[in-house]
Symmetry: C2
Subunit: 139 residues, 2 copies
DNA sequence: TGATATCATATTAGAAAAGTAGGATATAAA
DNA sequence: TTTATATCCTACTTTTCTAATATGATATCA
């Protein structure tokens, strides 16, 4: 439960790599793949999403690669998570009320809604820089 | 992301129903099914797990059904969640360190570990009674 | 021109979740 | 004692999602 997807874990690792090894230029997926042990093809999928969400930019062709658009301080974990996970809909039952006429769903739904806010809060308060600072750089 | 499984959502609804409509006796899955709009067969799967985790007891035969073993105040949400979701392993990569020699995984792993604790805390501090009190009974 | 990138689309493989099927067993009411 | 109504048990199907791969087009610099 509360499972974090491989895509998000890999994505976060790739972004920390980009932050700490990218400097001002770009980093190729080949390099990230080599150093993080993640399939280059899979990284392509991930970075397609990150680019779409305007977290990274890309340079094509030889010597190309990816770079962060914003500073790590300005990139929130929630932003990264939504970029890679997509839907935030914890509660689809909100739309299909038809089946819940006589049920206690409404109350429980509110509960899950609060739970989601709680989780969201954690993610909103953390930037990529925070994560690197607190967890990654303590070598 | 952070998706709550249908099994857990249904299970929680069924338990709130049991708490508020059960009284001192048992409630049949047929009744819960009818009032909550959940397949009786699916409820069987759920209650098999709840019984296994000693959250509910059962009475077989006619006029039988399920009842809570403990008081709602003594049943924690985390207990319910683990009963229905099973494994709590957010981070399987801890066991398979082989692939992560040269990576930044270690730092990121600590981060996810903290995240898990944060989520867990929320669940540990809530009882079934709390949920009913706060969300369900506000008619 | 060639090497090295991203980009685009599509497919596959596998696991997990959601839900179903059919019958065995127990029990109280009729 | 029969019958209706429960849980119990094992297994199956169906669907959905994730993870990962395949193939080739396109761009760009040395």
């Amino acid at each position: 439960m509360f499972q974090i997807s491989t895509r998000l874990r890999y994505g976060l690792r790739a972004l920390t790599y980009l932050s700490t090894n990218g400097g001002s230029g770009t980093v190729s997926l080949h390099e990230i793949s080599k150093n993080e042990g993640i399939s280059r093809k899979y990284l392509e999928n991930i970075f397609k999403l990150l680019k779409k969400s305007k977290i990274t930019r890309s340079v094509r062709g030889r010597e190309g690669g990816y770079a962060l658009i914003k500073k790590p301080e300005e990139i929130g974990l929630y932003e990264i998570a939504t970029a890679l996970e997509g839907k935030v809909s914890l509660l689809e039952c909100i739309d299909e009320k038809g089946l819940c006429e006589n049920s206690s769903e409404c109350g429980v739904r509110d509960f899950w809604s609060d739970y989601q806010d709680y989780v969201k809060k954690y993610m909103l308060n953390l930037s990529l820089a925070d994560i690197i600072e607190k967890y990654y750089k303590k070598i």
